[in-house]
C-alpha cells in the first residue's frame, strides 16, 4: 500500500529516491485503484495552484519605483565631481548624520536614563506634544536633535539651484540624514518628532524629482525651512527650560 504522502512527493517529483519513484510508477501501471487515488490527488493539488494575484496598492509600487530611482540617482551623483565649495557642507551633513547614528546606537546599547521632568517644566507653554515628549528625553538627545535639525535647516537654506549638478547629491544626503533623525526619534520614544520627520520625506523626494518645477521646488524648500525653524525654536525653548530646571 503506497501512502498518500509518498504520492504527494511523487506528484512534486521531489523528495523521493529514484528507486522509490520507479516503484511507485510501476505500481501505478498495475493498480487501477491506486491510479484513481493518484488522479484524484493530482487534480486536487492542481486546484490548489489557482491562487489569485493580489495587486499591490499603487503607493507601494510607487515607493518601489522611487527607491530604484533614488539609488540610481545616488550612484550617478557619486560618479559626478563635487564642487569644492560644497565639500564643507557635505562634511557637516556627514558629521550630523554620525551624531544621529550615535544617538540611535547609544540608545540601543544602553538606554539613556530618562530625566524626570521637574514640576515647573510642565508649566512651560509648549505648543506641540512632540516637544513635550522630546523635553522628557535626555539632554544629550536634545542637544543631538538640535544640532542635527539646525544642520538640516542650514543645508536646506544653502541648497544650490535645482539645475546645479550637486543639488541632487546634497538633497539625497539631507534625505538620508532625515531618516537617521527619524530613527533616533523612534529609538528615544519621541513618536511625534519621528512622524514629523517622516512627513518631511515625501516633500524632500518631490524636491528631488526632476519633473518638479523650480517654483514648486522653491515653495517646498520655503515650507520645509519654515517647519524646521519652528521645530528648532520649540526644541531650544524646551531645552533651555529643562536646563534651567535641572
Amino acid at each position: 500500500m503506497i501512502s498518500e504522502d509518498r504520492l504527494i512527493l511523487y506528484f512534486y517529483r521531489d523528495g523521493l529516491a529514484e528507486m522509490e519513484r520507479q516503484e511507485i510508477a510501476a505500481a501505478l501501471n498495475q493498480d487501477q485503484e491506486l491510479q484513481q487515488r493518484y488522479q484524484q490527488l493530482s487534480s486536487e493539488l492542481q486546484a490548489l495552484s489557482q491562487v489569485d494575484e493580489v495587486p499591490a496598492p499603487g503607493y507601494m509600487a510607487q515607493q518601489w519605483h522611487t527607491a530604484i530611482s533614488r539609488e540610481a540617482q545616488l550612484e550617478r551623483q557619486k560618479q559626478a565631481p563635487v564642487a569644492p565649495q560644497r565639500k564643507f557642507f557635505i562634511w557637516g551633513l556627514a558629521a550630523s548624520a554620525l551624531l544621529c547614528l550615535g544617538v540611535v546606537i547609544g540608545t540601543l546599547i544602553q538606554p539613556l536614563p530618562v530625566a524626570q521632568r521637574p514640576q515647573q517644566a510642565e508649566a512651560l507653554p509648549l505648543p506641540d506634544s512632540s516637544v513635550e515628549e522630546v523635553g522628557a528625553r535626555s539632554a544629550a538627545f536634545m542637544r543631538g536633535m538640535q544640532y542635527s535639525l539646525s544642520d538640516q535647516h542650514l543645508g536646506l537654506d544653502q541648497l544650490p539651484p535645482s539645475s546645479d549638478e550637486s543639488y541632487q547629491l546634497l538633497l539625497m544626503q539631507i534625505i538620508a540624514q532625515n531618516r537617521l533623525i527619524e530613527r533616533a526619534a523612534v529609538a528615544n520614544k519621541a513618536p511625534e518628532l519621528a512622524r514629523l520627520m517622516r512627513a518631511f520625506e515625501p516633500l524632500l523626494l518631490k524636491m528631488a524629482d526632476a519633473s518638479t518645477s523650480p517654483e514648486d521646488v522653491a515653495a517646498l524648500r520655503r515650507q520645509l525651512t519654515f517647519e524646521l525653524g519652528a521645530m528648532l525654536t520649540k526644541l531650544q525653548q524646551t531645552s533651555s527650560g529643562s536646563v534651567t530646571e535641572i
Binding site: G15, A47, L48, Q50, V51, D52, A56, S69
Partner: protein
C-alpha cells in the same frame, strides 16, 4: 566609454522600472502569501529590489530579471517573517512550532471571498510557508530545509499536513 557606461546604467534602471510594472503585483502576491501582512510583503519587495539593484552587476541573464527579483523577494519575505517571530523558527522546534494562528488573522482571512485563501488560513505559519514554497514557488524540499534551517523530513511533514488540511477544507467547501 563614459557614455556607454551611462547608457548601460540607464538601461538597467529602466529595466528595473519595467520589471516593477510587469511583475510587481506577482512579487507582492508571493510575499503576501508567505507573510500574510501587506506591509511586510511590500517591504520584502522593496528589499529585494534594492538588493538586486546593488548586485545587478553580478546578474547576466537579463531575460530572467523578474524571476531573479522574485526569488530574492521570497527570501526577504521569509527573513522578515522569521524576524517577527524568531521563536517559531528555531531549528529544534520547527516541526512542531507555530501551531497557533493569531485569531485576528483567522478572523480577517475568513472574510476573504477566495476559497483557497480561506483554506490557507487553516494552516499554521510553518505549514503555510512550506506549502507556498513547495507548491506555489516550486522550491526543492532540500532548498526549503536549508533556507529555514530545518531538516528535509520536517519540511516534508509540514507539506503533508498542509496538503491534507487544504484538501479537507476544499472538499468541505465543495460539499456546502
Amino acid at each position: 566609454m563614459v557614455a556607454n557606461t551611462e547608457s548601460m546604467q540607464s538601461l538597467t534602471e529602466s529595466e528595473f522600472h519595467q520589471a516593477i510594472a510587469r511583475s510587481g503585483d506577482y512579487w507582492y502576491s508571493a510575499c503576501l502569501r508567505i507573510t500574510k501582512n501587506p506591509q511586510l510583503a511590500a517591504d520584502a519587495v522593496q528589499d529585494a529590489l534594492l538588493n538586486a539593484w546593488k548586485k545587478r552587476h553580478q546578474f547576466e541573464q537579463k531575460a530572467l530579471l523578474t524571476t531573479w527579483i522574485h526569488r530574492i523577494a521570497v527570501n526577504s519575505a521569509l527573513s522578515l517573517l522569521r524576524s517577527q517571530h524568531p521563536e517559531r523558527w528555531t531549528a529544534e522546534d520547527i516541526d512542531v512550532a507555530a501551531d497557533t494562528i493569531p485569531q485576528e488573522t483567522l478572523a480577517s482571512s475568513r472574510q476573504a471571498a477566495e476559497q483557497l485563501n480561506q483554506a490557507m488560513t487553516e494552516l499554521t505559519e510553518l505549514e503555510r510557508v512550506c506549502f507556498t514554497l513547495k507548491h506555489l514557488e516550486q522550491w526543492r524540499i532540500t532548498e526549503i530545509a536549508e533556507e529555514l534551517g530545518s531538516s528535509a523530513n520536517a519540511i516534508k511533514q509540514a507539506v503533508f499536513r498542509a496538503v491534507s488540511k487544504l484538501r479537507v477544507s476544499l472538499a468541505d467547501h465543495r460539499s456546502e
